[in-house]
Amino acid sequence: MRPNIFMKDRVAIVGAGITKFMRRSLETPRELAWEAATQALDSAGLTLKDIDCVVTGSAPDTFDGVHFKGEYIADGSGGISKPITRVYVGGGTGVFIPDAGFWHVASGLCKKVLVLGEEKMSPAHPHPQYVFKYIWDPILERPLEPNLIWIFAMEMRRYMTKCGAQKEDIALVSVKNKRNALDHPSALIPANITVEDVLNSELLVWPVNLLDISPVTDGAVALVMTSEDVARKLTDTPVWVDGIGFTLENQHWYNRELSFPRYLNYAARMAYKMAGIERPWKEIDVAEPYDPFDYKELHHIEGLMLARPCEAWKLVKEGYFNRDGELPTSPSGGLLGVGNPIAAAGVMKVAELYWQLRYEAGKRQVKKAVHKAVANAWGDLMQAGTVIVLSN
């Protein structure tokens, strides 16, 4: 079943490019953007002259330390003298950028769109973690000296109790993703680790240990999105964007059931409906759920309806989500293994699905045949959900 979506053009992805993900890059944010953008253009067989419109995304300006980041990275993103848009929904930005690229093309406004996510977190001192503190309510919560990990720790604890999951069950996600990242040339912290390593790593905010978290990262990722007629001329194997979804749950996290991500579920239902997918747990072949923390991948697998609520942690134990499993998740290595340059991280996930659907992921290619794929990201004050569904 496909609903009435008024699209002028069907949308394809025809190229992708990625910088190395680094802890402290020498490159400026503009240079990171340029590296990813040129790679994406080269892979699509296009030059900057061919591009009609540019869509960029970047998370808080406070990371890069430049208060007009959209314009600041515009020249490196190829946006000079072109219609350029910057979108921003916190951590959800990464998938929102190709979502916005989609409507640029689907509306018929632009035929060839360069889509780019950039983040350079390392300039902020004493530590970029402090930037996250300002998402808390300045009157009621900031006086308590909170940090971002508080939110995750409380949400993780709620998920563990509601779903009966133990720390060691959740740690398996970190083990899987860091291992997958060993095959990703851009990866910042790939590793062969054990559940014990995760449990014994530095305890930050219980129940969150150091190895449960993705790292501070600099990097950029770009895609080229085109209309169907252009895509058919450029490649025999375009990847189609079948559906997009983006929704906001309640404004604040007080009145929310933290064990199930409704912000994502609403967005996923929107995207699946557009894509004509009725049973995602059967129809999706490979997924890149947003994994800034290990339990978050499980949370998002459930929100994407790839497993029943509270069952993802059981399936991860069976190897169901491994690269050779029934439904591989984060075959890239995810944010936990490749790294988490906020807005670029989500685009990295979409780029991974693009390579998977073209069978170009090399050693990361999942074992099963792939036809349909889904990625998500999540952000703002933890209530913005963004989703994209792709097919080959």
Partner: protein, 151 residues
């Protein structure tokens, strides 16, 4: 009528406030790949630019050219032209400056782009179109203030 926020309250003491701060008070910016060369050049008393396929030399060097290809580092020599300028009489805090500062936007005669920098030119002589040259400090560390001013 009850007090409304639009009734002017000039003093913080009269209203309920929750003080806050933002600890990210310092940033460490890297100048980039060719920007690092630019910084080294300043230390050596040179202004470096980037030569692109169109044959032009762009200042400052940004690694990538307007056509998106990678440029080559090249020194920029010769005069600079004052494109526009301003004269600063007060600092950020409203203090009157004994000696006004002249700030110019300067473009190299032999290149594209430009720099903003101080001008050491008597106020009555400063004008658009004036040609100037950089004067470097004796002690240089590799940043834009290694140029003392243009004159």
């Amino acid at each position: 009528m009850m007090d409304m926020s639009f009734e002017k309250k000039g003093r913080l003491e009269d209203i309920v406030v929750w003080p806050g701060d933002q600890e990210v008070d310092k940033f460490v910016y890297t100048p980039g790949i060719h920007g690092t060369e630019f910084a080294k050049g300043l230390k050596d008393g040179k202004i470096l630019g980037m030569k692109c396929k169109d044959g032009k030399v762009y200042v400052p060097p940004l690694t990538f050219c307007p056509d998106f290809s990678k440029g080559e580092i090249a020194e920029i020599e010769g005069d600079w032209v004052v494109i526009t300028y301003t004269i600063v009489y007060e600092d950020m805090y409203g203090n009157f400056l004994e000696k006004p500062k002249v700030i110019g936007f300067l473009k190299p005669v032999n290149g594209e782009g430009g720099l903003i920098h101080y001008l050491n030119v008597p106020i009555e002589k400063i004008n658009i179109g004036l040609t100037v040259r950089p004067v470097f400090k004796e002690e240089r560390v590799g940043n834009i203030n290694d140029i003392k001013y243009f004159e």
